[in-house]
Symmetry: C2
């Protein structure tokens, strides 16, 4: 994409929402929309929408409005949805398994490849085909597989060590469901909230950071 200027966090947080609304329009067969109509639907001012999208070059055409498919596609690219991501889940209890079971991730190109836990009752199981390994195997796994994002659904007491190991192994993105703030080195991105919107935001940050390396 080659964005030169820094995009504010507020704009970044709104992008997944634009993406979602535009996807909804496309599902309904609506192919173009004015910033005013989009504004009404999203409950954001039309000028805010124009300003937000101008960060990425605009996309609108005077008197025509936005081409929904094009805009959807471009925002998808900005969010980094034009490639796929490898993810691992650390902590395979209820929440970890719920995330593994969320098949919608795969439609977006987010693939959970492995899960880890310390509980001997879980280790060796698989959830929807995703193997649960012993946490002791995590380091070796990460060293031998491409891992874009670690999803942390482990108890907070275990989080700091796990995060340090993963950072040392070069993992750059943490989707953090553990109830603590993470201490990560420069260039490592953390998203402390949940599900598709926040995962998309994280992907943006990961991509943005990788652009700025």
């Amino acid at each position: 994409m080659g964005q030169d200027k820094k995009i504010s966090a507020a704009v970044i947080h709104r992008l997944p929402r634009y993406y979602r609304y535009l996807g909804d329009l496309l599902e309904k067969g609506i192919t173009r929309i004015s910033s005013k109509e989009l504004s009404n639907r999203m409950n954001i001012t039309a000028s805010q929408i124009r300003q937000d999208l101008n960060n990425f070059g605009g996309f609108g055409q005077q008197g025509y409005g936005y081409n929904a498919a094009y805009l959807h596609d471009e925002i998808g690219k900005i969010l980094g949805l034009d490639r796929s991501y490898h993810m691992i889940v650390i902590g395979s209890g209820n929440l970890g398994q719920a995330l593994i079971n969320y098949a919608n991730f795969e439609k977006r190109g987010f693939f959970i490849r492995a899960a880890f836990d310390i509980n001997p009752k879980l280790v060796g199981m698989s959830v929807r085909g995703i193997p649960i390994y012993d946490l002791d195997e995590m380091e070796n796994y990460v060293k031998t597989h491409a891992v874009d994002i670690a999803i942390l659904t482990l108890p907070r007491s275990q989080a700091p060590d796990v995060v340090k190991t993963l950072c040392d192994c070069g993992v750059k993105g943490f989707w953090n469901f553990s109830h603590m703030d993470l201490d990560v080195p420069e260039g490592v991105c953390v998203e402390n909230v949940h599900l598709t919107d926040s995962l998309m935001t994280l992907l943006y940050k990961v991509n943005d950071a990788s652009h700025n390396l």
Copy 2:
């Protein structure tokens, strides 16, 4: 509590984090802390901390710092943690069940009382003692039980009807995990993010709204 002035959303979102950090201090046996120390730990400026807490009357003593237990307790009260809450889960799939299984809620006074689903395989089951009822029974349940908060973990296509019914029955708080923005009447609060921090924020809003009725 009788807060007279409007507290900004940004401050409200920080309160659960103060509460968490102060709880951590107490667990470590630290009973008082200066705004500077707290600032270092939380990565917020000391002046921001003072400003935030001044919204609620300060709590600090010049040259002494903050009494961690007192501040923890007071922020807990502000968040509404000095009472208990009745919650229901709408949509008892993986995520709904993961939330039901999250026993930490109960320690905070958040009690999930019932869950609902349309899937005949789930209806009649119970998860950690919480019954899963048919969605058709939801309306009657809500009319005959006190429900403070509905947790929405149902597919988005079903969300609008469910939300309308629940609003008509007087439910004032939605913890919304369904992937859409909700259309709710004035005085009904929605929190579109997840887990303990955001649930606490919602509780604040519910309490705040009830103060202003």
